[in-house]
């Protein structure tokens, strides 16, 4: 903290940040490469006939031949891998057997739906999960804590697709509180020009509040089901972090200063809890991407998960692997983001 040459200190710090950033990027790139390698193996090495897997068993002979040469199966394996990497980096994930479109095009079309669902579900999990976790920690051992324990246990034990079905049975079949599967009523489909692909955003931007309300009604149940798992996880971790913080000496200091108990909990303790909590939320978001595969199937939600399962059932290898790469990449991206956020938020890590 002394005086001294400011510029050299700053220059040194910048170089240190630069090196750290470079190391981080290298690490991420390596993991991404590993991801591609695994999908490459699954696509080329595991099936008995990779060309058949890529074109489907109903393809005519010319298509088979063309793809066989395209895939470069006559080349040594490492060269095939390099070609593969090159293609992926250019955004070419192959052609879908089912739709005959480029897989990338298909995925770009369906991905926003999953994004919308996962985001609303995570919001649900965060907005409800953090306060309940805090309350459980503050009233440790008493009924809020017990309730949380039960909620958490259920969240780790109930299959998401089954919960979705039961939810549909109750809220759609019996109570008629929510509309049926899909993102919008058939009536509204195709009415809205897709700008971002996220219906809630597009309809709000266009001022189409009827469509917005309908989309909201459709997303409520799947997001709540998916969000329940997020809630269970986030609240449990919040409770755990809170308990740890409330035992620290600085909390006593705050109380001694005369800080109100409410401020002690929600400002001092939660302020410290929020740092590891960011990582938890990011992880939860990643988990929801995975959970959406099954939820979308149950609710006929036309997102990436639904796309994956449909492709799977039609043995559309390119589509499945393409989807895997996209989800894996998003996962890696989320982890990187949460790491960066952690560094930003924790003064000790800067």
């Amino acid at each position: 903290m002394g005086a001294g040459s400011q510029t050299s200190g700053r220059g040194r710090r910048l170089r240190r940040y630069g090196r750290k950033a470079a190391a981080l990027i290298a690490s991420v790139a390596l993991t991404f490469l590993g991801l591609l390698f695994v999908t490459f193996l699954i696509g080329r090495v595991v099936p008995i006939d990779p060309v058949l897997a890529a074109v489907g068993d109903r393809a005519p002979a010319e298509v088979y031949e063309r793809v066989r040469i395209e895939l470069g199966l006559h080349l040594p394996l490492y060269q095939q891998f390099l070609i593969y990497i090159g293609k992926v980096l250019q955004g070419d994930l192959g052609r879908s057997v089912l739709t005959a479109n480029a897989v990338t095009t298909d995925i770009l079309r369906v991905f926003p739906a999953t994004l919308e669902l996962a985001t609303v579900a995570t919001l649900f999990g965060v907005l409800l999960g953090i306060p309940t976790g805090v309350l459980a920690a503050v009233h440790q051992g008493r009924w809020p804590d017990q309730v949380l324990r039960v909620v958490g246990l259920f969240g780790y034990s109930v299959p998401v697709f089954w919960l979705g079905l039961m939810g549909l049975l109750l809220f759609y079949g019996r109570l008629d509180w929510v509309p049926g599967p899909g993102r919008l009523d058939v009536f509204y489909e195709g009415l809205l020009p897709a700008k971002t692909g996220v219906i809630l955003i597009d309809s709000a931007l266009a001022g189409e509040w009827g469509i917005f309300r309908n989309a909201l009604a459709h997303i409520v149940l799947p997001a709540a089901i998916l969000g329940y798992y997020s809630l269970a996880y986030i609240s449990r971790m919040t409770r755990s972090f809170m308990l740890e913080q409330l035992n620290q000496e600085y909390i006593t200091t705050a109380r001694v200063k005369g800080v109100s108990e409410r401020s002690v909990i929600w400002r001092h303790a939660l302020g410290n809890v929020s740092i590891p909590l960011v990582t938890v939320i990011a992880l939860s978001y990643g988990n929801l991407l995975e959970g959406s595969v099954l939820t979308e199937t149950v609710f006929a939600w036309p997102g990436l998960g639904f796309y994956l399962t449909q492709s799977l059932l039609s043995a559309d290898m390119n589509a499945v692997l393409g989807g895997t790469i996209v989800v894996g990449t998003v996962f890696i991206g989320i982890n990187m983001l949460s790491d960066a956020l952690y560094r930003l938020m924790d003064p000790r890590a800067r």
Partner: protein, 280 residues
Amino acid sequence: METLLDVRNLRVTFRTQKETVEAVRGVSFSMGREKLGIVGESGSGKSVTCRSLLGLIRPPGRVAADHLLFDGLDLLQIDSRRMQHIRGRRIAMVMQDPKYSLNPVMTVGEQIAEAYRIHARASRPEARRKTIEMLEAVRIRHPDQVYDAYPHQVSGGMGQRIMIAMMLIPGPDLLIADEPTSALDVTVQLQLLAILDDLVQERGMGLVFISHDLNLVASFCDRIIIMYAGRIMEICEARDLHKARHPYTRGLLHCLPRLDTPPGELPVLQRDPAWEEGTP
């Protein structure tokens, strides 16, 4: 000297499923605006005594006493809102290790300013100004730089001075210092004590100084309380410590190493179980 604090028959018990621990068993003392030292081993109840004054003992701990009079107010009888007002504003506490007792994600200045603003409805700029003043009062150089620093960026000695600044800024009448120098290097200890002494003197405050270091307390404080197993063994003037009569105190004094007449082999304190039962 007017009485600032009068404790009569304080008892603190911790009741868990497995056992009941009596941390403090009938402690009585009073003090004015002076420097009172409380000395004892780990587990003697010295910290718990002082924390119960601030209402910091939470269940399963239970505090009971005939009375806990602070400036005429019985701290046991008031409700939690009034207790919250008293904390910081009238009684404050400095703890042992600033590495743990400062909030790691708030800047030092924010934490001190918060202490000020809770009790003195001031604006942010004014609180900042007061904070810088206080940092200067504890002899921190470059207070505006330190204001924006985080606790992990300051040394132990500076951290304790920050704690003192934070606790003294609302202007309390009584300061409890719970082993404030135990985590510091010896050289830094004396500096800190000097600062504490000056501030307490010029503000006319009472100071309770908790320590396990008998020599340190004897040189720094006016009066000394010796505690063992939740009870007070002896209360005496600091300058009369060598004339202490209780066998426990004498035993402690005997065990202290001395440079002038080295005893050859340092004696080990022989504990008399009667001390636990409590000899009046």
